[in-house]
Symmetry: C2
Subunit: 387 residues, 2 copies
């Protein structure tokens, strides 16, 4: 299968920026000060793994009109010049005494003098990716500047994907599906779980993933107990229930789904749990239409899960948004009344507890179209597969 083009045409970034600026005008924001990888990339196209180094902060300022302004370490200037951004202000970082703070002050002082309000991400699922001390010092020097939480604004934009984004997401989901389909070929009794993890990563790369940054799972007799562990050296044994959950990516977009397998033979409790989760997912697929709320989607899945477990496990939600990050807004949970709209890309992730502290998870990735959910992952088998 041919891969889509890498990157985006400039119109993608221009559209995103114009939409943000329209919302900023409605809410009276004179600018957005962004510093997290996904947000900087969303508005600029600046794409690098260098964010894994915590040393240097990176900033993008979206003004009320015009292109965003980059305030970044000099080491990123060449890459930023390859994007649509024109105003690129750099400093030689790291510089602990002034890591971009003077440059930010110069930019923001006129807004502070005018008593303007800027937006910063302060809400759910966000973090401050700069030293807190630097942030406090910056703001102390900008008296008059008002800071509002821009989480709702950014969330409303990023939750709905463009066709170009959906194409990338479909591509990586297809790579993930092909990789899971090969698991029975390379997983076997006696194989230490850490070796299976390596084999899965190698397979996903061979299938065309750029990387497999997220891979967790578990295996244990009659069911696993934990869904976020790194792999152990314990060898797979007959009677194990094995789960692999992967976030592979391509061109900066993630798939995020899991698959369950029984090794040699499946116990009846695990087969029952699998069946309940498979049907809960079906209920989720049927419910995931424009106009449904995330709470309703949660309830549609939870009503099936309740056949076996009325707690819905301890994972806190039954799926979430998917895109440039492994997990994004919204949450399929009782607390989230977000209305589902066309072109949201979502995970459906029902889970349950059963037996003596065992847990099972099941997950698919979908894009919501006008007429309903369209699967991006190849639907899991209706019965627990046996290797």
């Amino acid at each position: 299968m041919a891969a889509p083009d890498r990157g985006f045409p400039e119109t993608e970034f221009a559209t995103r920026t114009a939409r943000a600026q329209a919302l900023m005008a409605q809410t009276g924001l004179a600018g957005l000060l962004l510093m997290t990888e996904a947000e900087v990339r969303y508005f600029s196209g600046f794409h690098t793994l260098f964010w894994q180094s915590p040393t240097r902060p990176w900033f993008l300022f979206v003004p009320a009109d015009g292109k965003p302004i980059a305030i970044i370490p000099e080491i990123g200037a060449e890459l930023m010049r390859a994007t649509w951004i024109e105003d690129i202000r750099t400093w030689s970082a790291p510089a602990p005494k002034d890591d971009g703070i003077s440059l930010l002050s110069d930019l923001l002082l006129p807004l502070a003098s005018g008593g303007e309000t800027i937006g910063v991400l302060k809400g759910h699922e966000t973090a401050l990716r700069m030293p807190l001390g630097d942030y406090e010092r910056l703001m102390q020097g900008l008296s008059g500047l008002q800071v509002a939480d821009a989480t709702a604004l950014i969330r409303s934009l990023r939750m709905v994907k463009s066709e170009a984004e959906i194409e990338k997401l479909a591509h990586i989901c297809s790579i993930g599906s092909r990789s899971f389909a090969r698991v029975p070929d390379f997983a076997h009794e006696g194989q230490p779980l850490e070796d299976l993890f390596r084999a899965f990563r190698r397979e996903a790369l061979a299938q065309g993933a750029d990387d497999v940054p997220y891979l967790v799972g578990g295996a244990d007799q009659g069911g696993y107990h934990d869904v976020i562990s790194p792999p152990s050296r314990r060898p797979l044994a007959r009677g194990d229930i094995l789960m692999l959950d992967t976030g592979a990516n391509w061109d900066g977009y993630f798939c995020d789904f899991d698959r369950n397998f029984a090794i040699g033979a499946a116990d009846s409790a695990s087969r029952r749990a699998y069946d309940v989760l498979w049907r809960a997912t079906e209920a989720g697929i049927a419910a995931a239409r424009p106009g449904t709320t995330c709470r309703q989607l949660f309830q549609a899945m939870q009503s099936v899960i309740a056949e076996l477990d009325d707690q819905g496990g301890d994972v806190g939600r039954l799926g979430h948004g998917l895109g440039m990050q492994l997990t994004e807004w919204p949450s399929h949970a009782a607390f989230d009344d977000t209305e589902i709209v066309e072109n949201m890309v979502l995970t459906l992730e029902p889970s349950l507890s059963y037996g003596d502290g065992r847990i099972m998870v099941h997950e698919e990735n979908i894009v919501v179209r006008r007429t309903g959910a369209q699967l991006l992952s190849a639907r899991a088998a209706p019965d627990l597969p046996i290797i």
Copy 2:
């Protein structure tokens, strides 16, 4: 080569905690509130890739005496119970209205009433990994509580590695060295750079890496121009200078070094640049002894680089600490007067600009012993290798 044991004995965490508490006593801190992956893992052993999901905050509180206290989402309870931590307080996350904040308040209110001071990471190379709005609300509810920057304290502990940490770092550096040694076997003219990146990742996994989360590089005629880019589809061509820089990891510890290759033939300017950087690294290896400062180490390398480039490139420093993160304190830079001590693990990373905007980087990983630097990476060839 046999891999070391995974994880650490409990004494490792007890020692780290006791050292932190001794420093806290000296500086009058009643506790440390930590929330970043490396710090939570450093004091607890809690190790999961789940941190890649930005949705949930995680907290670890190191009190003035006794074991640390975990305040974490319920989804992590099972894994945290497998560590030495006993006091584990959980909530069903995500919960946007109260993501751990009540639990933190309950813990910190007695300290606030007593006008005590706690430490939070606010300094260089740190971030606030919780919503800024939640942090502000938490602190507003804790009037009387003083917050000090604990960066210097944490930095002084994490910069110096234990023998068990050094063993893990030596293991992953050895895996990285064997992977680079195989590059001439799978890199070839006509190969798109993104395919080479995939082949390198697969090789490093085959050599025993858990993952290769960081892989950047470049290739261009007579030299590359950028050292933080993701791979392009441009095929390798005769006359290219190719650089691959990897952060592979094993059991949560990183290697971080790069290698340069010429495709088919090497131009004389690139050979000269390589020779200068190789000798700058030799100067760094000779200088990296207990008692030297990072500034002196920087100058030792810079004095050789100056033969060709008196700016030292735009990368801001010539190496850094290495451990649980791809880049850690200290920085080999003119601003950093940290004294090098025994059992620091460091990168030596001289770089220079040459020709028309070309850049070259060169990197080794070392552990500083009483008698001087010991290489963890297999030393690069003294002449630019030709594939």
